[in-house]
């Protein structure tokens, strides 16, 4: 112990929990979930405005891998090694997960090149990159469905399937219309959440630009489809060394068992090397 320090306010607010080096235990407390008893059949929407919400993507990736779920990760934004490096800090090896068949990783940056330079018989998941007119994302959906539908041998090797997408705004900037992306999410939800009783997590950026109709349509349309919305925002007052942003949690469409209606919580957070700490607004330990 390096000298005296103030009692940990966060622990007092949320109840003490054993620290572990995997994912973000405090976020699990806020969401009232652990890998053992994760809910199924849910769509979680991650949204960031004026800040980078990708730490939530890393959290859910390691969370579901630790929960022994089969994960299909449609990674359009970064390379495999980027996610792998961060996941290792959180105690998960993506390479090992991929090798044992637990993780199906679509590396958008790499495989988009294949669309143009490799002859494919079946439509490539990112086939829409070749199409001149506004197409649809059916090949991508078929890829997801094939990746997560359990094999015919009947043995349930993994707990439940999970689809993770980072991120959907990239699809808009690649020329897909908002309705095409909403259709893709609709079909994924129908298959992954309802048919296979799995979960889906997707990240969308909120540009904050009221003129960007497509992005607004996508964001609001997805919000209505979601069970849980995690929205990270930069502080309105600007950059702060000790408080990196604000997280708003909105529970929509609660199941009968929870009987919670549209409960919403807001916390502030600070991203550290291997963890994210959350605290009530104005209660950052740095300023108390």
């Amino acid at each position: 112990m390096k000298g005296m320090h103030l009692p940990d306010i966060r622990m007092l607010l949320q109840g003490a929990s054993p620290r572990s080096s995997e994912m973000f235990p405090e976020l699990n407390n806020l969401l009232n979930t652990t890998p053992d008893k994760a809910e199924q059949g849910k769509l979680t929407l991650l949204c960031d405005a004026r800040t980078d919400g990708s730490f939530l993507v890393h959290h859910f990736l390691s969370f579901y891998l630790k929960a022994n779920c089969k994960v299909c990760f449609v990674a359009l934004l970064q390379s495999f090694s980027h996610y792998n490096i961060v996941a290792q800090k959180l105690g998960v090896s993506l390479a090992a997960a991929r090798e044992r068949g637990q993780l199906v990783f679509l590396e958008g940056l790499k495989s988009s090149v294949d669309v143009f330079f490799q002859a494919q018989e079946d439509p490539h998941p990112l086939q829409f990159l070749r199409e001149a007119s506004a197409g649809n994302l059916q090949p991508l959906y078929e890829f997801v469905r094939e990746a997560l539908t359990p094999a015919d041998n009947g043995a349930a090797a993994w707990r439940c399937p999970v689809l993770l997408v980072d991120d959907l705004s990239v699809l808009l900037s690649l020329g897909m219309g908002a309705v095409a992306v909403l259709d893709f999410v609709h079909y994924c939800r129908a298959t992954v959440c309802c048919e296979l009783k799995g979960n889906m997590v997707a990240l969308v950026h909120d540009s904050g630009d009221a003129e960007d109709e497509e992005n607004n349509t996508l964001l609001i349309g997805l919000s209505h489809q979601s069970h849980l919305i995690l929205r990270t925002e930069g502080l309105a007052t600007g950059f702060c060394k000790d408080v990196h942003g604000q997280l708003r949690i909105l529970w929509r469409r609660p199941s009968q068992s929870t009987a919670r209606r549209d409960r919403s919580l807001t916390f502030q957070y600070k991203i550290q090397d291997k963890n994210v700490s959350f605290f009530a607004r104005g209660m950052s330990p740095a300023i108390l």
């Binding site: 649809n136 959906y141 309802c194 349509t217 609001i220 209505h224 549209d262």
Partner: protein
């Protein structure tokens, strides 16, 4: 907030009945913050418990999820047209309805069994994103103003269309068009854990009436009416028991006596040019003493007889 007990049950039933009574299109406007599917399900439950058949065009949630929470009585009266599983026919199994969702809606128009029917559309937003607004409005109009089926009584049958609309998704044009088609409009909102419904009734040949109702929805989709949010800021009561007269304790006179008024009126103002004054000015020196200046220098005065302007070269 405490519920109202037996009286409350009657009131929520009345409220839902009034929403369903007008017939035609009931437009439910919700938002991300205040979702409307629960209220839609409450309306459907009410209609089903009145013995009606309810047909649901389900585009946004699975049948299982939609039926969740209803008891078997209600569920037996619901017919769910599933457009959730494969609306665009991507699975190529041919299960998708011919003509798409609007074709399914039009087919609902053509049913032949009598009796009042309620059609619920979950959601209108889903249709509006994929079909032109005019087409959707035309189908809705045809639905809510159905001509009677041949062979039955010529009276227009009671058709009720409950449409869920996520109003943030659309511009003012489509929302306005649907609003003008609706006989009843319910906008969902709320505050501090309590839900509210702002209701507009458009009865024929009457002015629209507005009503705001606070409620909470129970797990079985019955409503519990509430009195409203506790008012946190009451207006402050007046701290002064008697008003203070501001005209007391003045340093000047606000009122004039009659004599003072006469004296004031008789006064000649210095710049008022009367004929006497004119004469006096034209004949100076008559009866006028020369003006004097009285000056007493004090110790610090320096009387200099020199003309300070002497050095000016004018």
């Amino acid at each position: 907030m405490p519920s109202e007990g037996a009286a409350g049950c009657g009131r929520w039933s009345e409220m839902l009945e009034s929403l369903l009574a007008l017939g035609g299109l009931v437009l439910l406007r919700d938002s991300v913050e205040w979702e409307g599917r629960s209220f839609l399900k409450a309306l459907i439950r009410k209609a089903a418990l009145s013995g009606e058949q309810v047909r649901i065009l389900g585009c946004e949630v699975s049948e299982e999820e939609f039926r969740e929470g209803f008891d078997s009585d209600v569920n037996s009266r619901l017919v769910y047209h599933d457009l959730f599983r494969d609306p665009l026919n991507w699975s190529k199994t041919g299960e998708a309805p011919p003509g798409g969702p609007l074709g399914a809606l039009r087919a609902m128009c053509k049913r032949t069994d009598p009796g009042p029917v309620t059609i619920a559309i979950d959601s209108l937003s889903w249709l509006l994103l994929r079909q032109p607004c005019t087409t959707v409005c035309q189908v809705l109009h045809a639905l809510s103003h159905r001509t009677p089926c041949p062979g039955h009584s010529p009276a227009v049958e009671q058709v009720r269309v409950l449409g869920l609309l996520h109003e943030e998704l659309h511009g003012p044009g489509p929302v306005g068009a649907l609003s003008s088609l609706a006989q009843t409009e319910v906008t969902l909102g709320g505050t501090a854990g309590l839900d509210s419904a702002h209701i507009v009734f458009r009865r024929p040949r009457q002015r629209p009436t507005h009503q705001t109702q606070w409620f909470s929805i129970l797990p079985d989709f019955s409503l519990d009416l509430q009195e409203g949010p506790r008012l946190e800021c009451q207006p402050h009561p007046d701290p002064y028991t008697s008003p203070v007269d501001p005209t007391t304790h003045l340093t000047f006179n606000l009122r004039l006596s009659k004599k003072e008024k006469e004296a004031r009126d008789g006064l000649t103002l210095p710049f008022q040019f009367s004929s006497e004054k004119q004469q006096a000015l034209l004949r100076p020196g008559q009866g006028q003493a020369a003006s004097h200046i009285f000056y007493e220098p004090d110790a610090y005065d320096d009387l200099d007889q020199e003309d300070p302007d002497d050095d000016l070269d004018v």
